[in-house]
């Protein structure tokens, strides 16, 4: 099959995460990975994002399949079971909500900006060199740190399951994947009724 421009989006993924090591404000770019799949699902009723555009999925394929960094063993059943997928989605949304709340607190002046990222919702890592205080309103910076934490945590989780199981095992419980498929199913169900 001839390569299309979007087959190279895995490069964008690497660029995105690299930028976060230099200037945390680039984390906002990740909102594209958040909003685009949802828009495509809500308005288009498809998973075109997961199927073709997701640089993260492509990166897992590159490393897992082509560079053989995956054991390529079957994913454990519970990992792609409905309860785990939706449970993880809820957990992720809760963590996302918490992150937005922290941003709000900083914006309201109830908390000061913390120049750190949090990995796996547990380990706080100082990340101050990526931001010069005062460049943007504190809440904008806080959101960057928070959002980048979520993105990096999920990327790393994805690498772990890629290594252990199939290259794209992450995709079975990726919150974006679950959410977009859920939306598509709702839409398809409605189409049938009409």
């Amino acid at each position: 099959m001839k390569k299309k421009w979007y087959d190279y989006l895995w490069i964008y993924e690497i660029v995105y995460f690299s930028l976060g090591f230099f200037n945390i404000l680039f984390a906002w770019l990740g909102m594209i990975d958040f909003l685009l799949p949802l828009c495509l699902a809500v308005f288009g009723g498809n998973k075109w994002f997961c199927n073709r555009l997701c640089g993260r999925g492509q990166l897992y394929t590159k490393l897992g399949s082509q560079m053989k960094c995956s054991r390529n063993k079957s994913t454990p059943k519970w990992m792609y079971s409905t309860w785990f997928r939706y449970g993880f989605l809820l957990f992720f949304l809760a963590m996302f909500g918490n992150m937005v709340f922290q941003t709000y607190l900083v914006g309201a002046g109830a908390r000061s900006l913390r120049e750190a990222i949090k990995l796996f919702w547990t380990f706080r890592i100082p990340w101050g060199w990526t931001y010069t205080a005062g460049t943007v309103p504190d809440w904008v910076a806080q959101y960057s740190f928070g959002f980048y934490s979520l993105m990096l945590t999920s990327l790393l989780l994805g690498f772990v399951v890629m290594g252990l199981y199939k290259p794209r095992t992450w995709c079975t419980f990726c919150p974006m994947g679950t959410m977009t498929q859920g939306i598509c199913k709702l839409r398809a169900g409605k189409d049938k009724e009409e």
Binding site: T75, T172, Q181
Partner: protein, 73 residues
């Protein structure tokens, strides 16, 4: 002549990630409305690549049944 085997995906388990679509040499798979993968039996050559990559392990390669063999003239 059609192949002896063909792949089929379990709609209920499929997460619609599209990994299988990308590895299929015959472009026999489509993700239907973002819900699940569907294999076009007529195009499928039963190579099993899709089953190998599927992270949800929901593709199985089956022997073409009696009903199908009638189609192969």
């Amino acid at each position: 002549m059609k192949s002896k085997r063909f792949a089929s995906a379990d709609k209920k388990v499929c997460v619609a990630c599209g990994s299988c679509v990308l590895v299929c040499p015959k472009q026999a798979i489509t993700v239907v409305k973002g819900c699940y993968a569907n294999v076009d039996k007529d195009l499928c050559v039963g190579c099993g690549r899709c089953a190998g990559i599927c992270p949800a392990g929901c593709i199985s390669v089956k022997e073409r049944g009696a009903g199908d063999e009638k189609e192969v003239v």
